[in-house]
């Protein structure tokens, strides 16, 4: 039995018809066409599906869409403002913080949550807080460099 729900994604409200067992990830990708959020392991172990719920990093593959009702959801598509990439996105582009790019949206969403809470993290703290996002190309060096680069660019701002 499908259920009509309203989801607030990137500031817009979407009314969608979902099955109770559909994950937020499936609804974002398949119903809303927001395919920036990636389906990696689909078991909560890789971080590719990370989105923000009320500002905190959540795994959209381990969450039912109906359970996200009433929360503010932000996906990678919601980071740029007026056509301008977010400083984190710019930093990843300029410093080459990606290779295949599949894990990148999840990494950037986690990094956004981290910097919102701790605008100038040490590399040690950053490593701990990014521990749930796997990347199989970069070896993480350039990922961390890109996030650290963004902190400089943002000067402690969000």
């Amino acid at each position: 039995m499908k259920q009509a729900i309203a989801l607030e994604v990137n500031g817009d409200t979407y009314e969608v018809l979902v099955s109770p067992n559909q994950t937020l990830l499936e609804v974002l990708r398949e119903k809303l066409g927001l395919t920036g959020t990636k389906k990696g392991c689909d078991l909560g172990a890789c971080g590719a599906c990370t989105v923000l719920l009320d500002g905190a990093a959540y795994l959209s593959c381990l969450m039912l869409a109906v359970d996200a009702v009433g929360k503010k959801i932000v996906t990678i598509e919601g980071l740029s403002q007026g056509g301008e990439l977010h400083p984190l996105q710019k930093s990843f582009v300029e410093l080459g913080g990606l290779q295949c790019g599949f894990c990148t949206p999840g990494i950037i969403m986690t990094a956004k949550a981290v910097l919102d809470e701790e605008p100038q993290p040490t590399e040690e703290s950053l490593k701990k807080k990014m521990a749930g996002n796997l990347c199989r190309c970069t070896g993480y060096k350039k990922v961390l460099d890109s996030i650290m680069g963004a902190t400089a660019r943002m000067g402690g701002e969000r």
Partner: protein, 282 residues
């Protein structure tokens, strides 16, 4: 599964559970969703506990602290009452899963899931925590070691849920230690883990000892023999190495994809040696 229910109060939850006995409860869903999609469970409906205020948050009850079942790991990490009274629990949660899973997963889910590798369990056993179980009609408490009877098996009847855990404050413990050995540093399931709470006298002698091992038996392991062997001794490496032999006999690990039983047995004993570092500091 045909419906997801989002009750805001326990009374609402009881109605849902009585309406359809095949309704399963969940909080963060980080264990339940994996099982649901793996086809290992097939409830007709789900009721989410996260919005029920009565079972969320940490409450100071004087001699003890109450932690609501639907409190997330992240919330517990940030709670100063928990980190000052029960640092052994905080240390364990710091290495539980990943930041995002800690934002979603709850202590109640960790307890009811009853995995031998559940990271909050060794601290809860070492702290002699009690689980509070509620139904519409009654509330009761039992030690966590009675509540958990085997891997994934707990003493929870129909239409009962875990309301939370009670942990007595124990300021007499001046050494609070947790270590998990996994196959990598972060987001690793425990191959073996140890939670310890010890009281050392001014002269450095062990006056009280509570130790609990994870992932080396069907449930968390405590051993009266090991705890007694430590009493009156000083935390030095030779003594700990002797007692480690007793630990090897007390545990009953299995072979699985992560490690062999023999490796786990040895590691369970060796985890004790790290306590020598706490001995020096005091």
């Amino acid at each position: 599964m045909t419906q997801v229910l989002l009750p805001r109060a326990l009374d609402e939850l009881w109605d849902f559970l009585e309406e359809d006995p095949n309704t399963a409860v969940y909080s963060g869903g980080t264990d339940l969703l994996v099982n649901l999609r793996g086809g290992r469970i097939n409830p007709s409906r789900l009721a989410c506990l996260e919005r029920i205020e009565e079972i969320r948050g940490v409450r100071d009850a004087g001699a003890a602290v109450f932690i609501g079942a639907a409190t997330t790991h992240t919330h517990l990490l940030e709670n100063s009452l928990v980190s000052s009274e029960f640092p052994v629990l905080t240390k364990a949660i710091r290495v539980l899963a990943s930041p995002a899973i800690r934002n979603m997963g709850t202590i109640g889910g960790n307890i009811v899931n009853a995995s031998p590798a559940g990271d909050t369990l060794p601290p809860l056993y070492a702290l002699d925590a009690e689980v509070e179980i509620v139904s519409r009609k009654e509330a009761k408490r039992m030690p966590v070691s009675d509540f958990i009877v085997g891997p994934g098996r707990v003493r929870l009847g129909a239409n009962e849920i875990v309301k939370g855990v009670w942990i007595r404050k124990a300021p007499e413990f001046n050494v609070r230690h947790f270590e998990k050995v996994g196959l990598r540093k972060s987001q690793a399931c425990a191959v073996a883990s140890l939670a310890a709470a010890l009281s050392l006298s001014e002269g450095g002698k062990i006056e009280r000892a509570r130790l609990a091992w994870g992932s080396v038996g069907p449930t968390v392991v405590r051993s009266a023999e090991v705890e007694e062997a430590l009493l009156g001794r000083e935390l030095e490496i030779q003594m700990l190495a002797e007692v480690a032999r007793l630990v090897e006999r007390a545990v009953s690990p299995i072979d699985d994809v992560r490690a062999s039983a023999q490796y786990r047995r040895i590691v369970a004993g060796r985890l004790l040696l790290r306590l020598a570092e706490s001995g020096c500091k005091n």
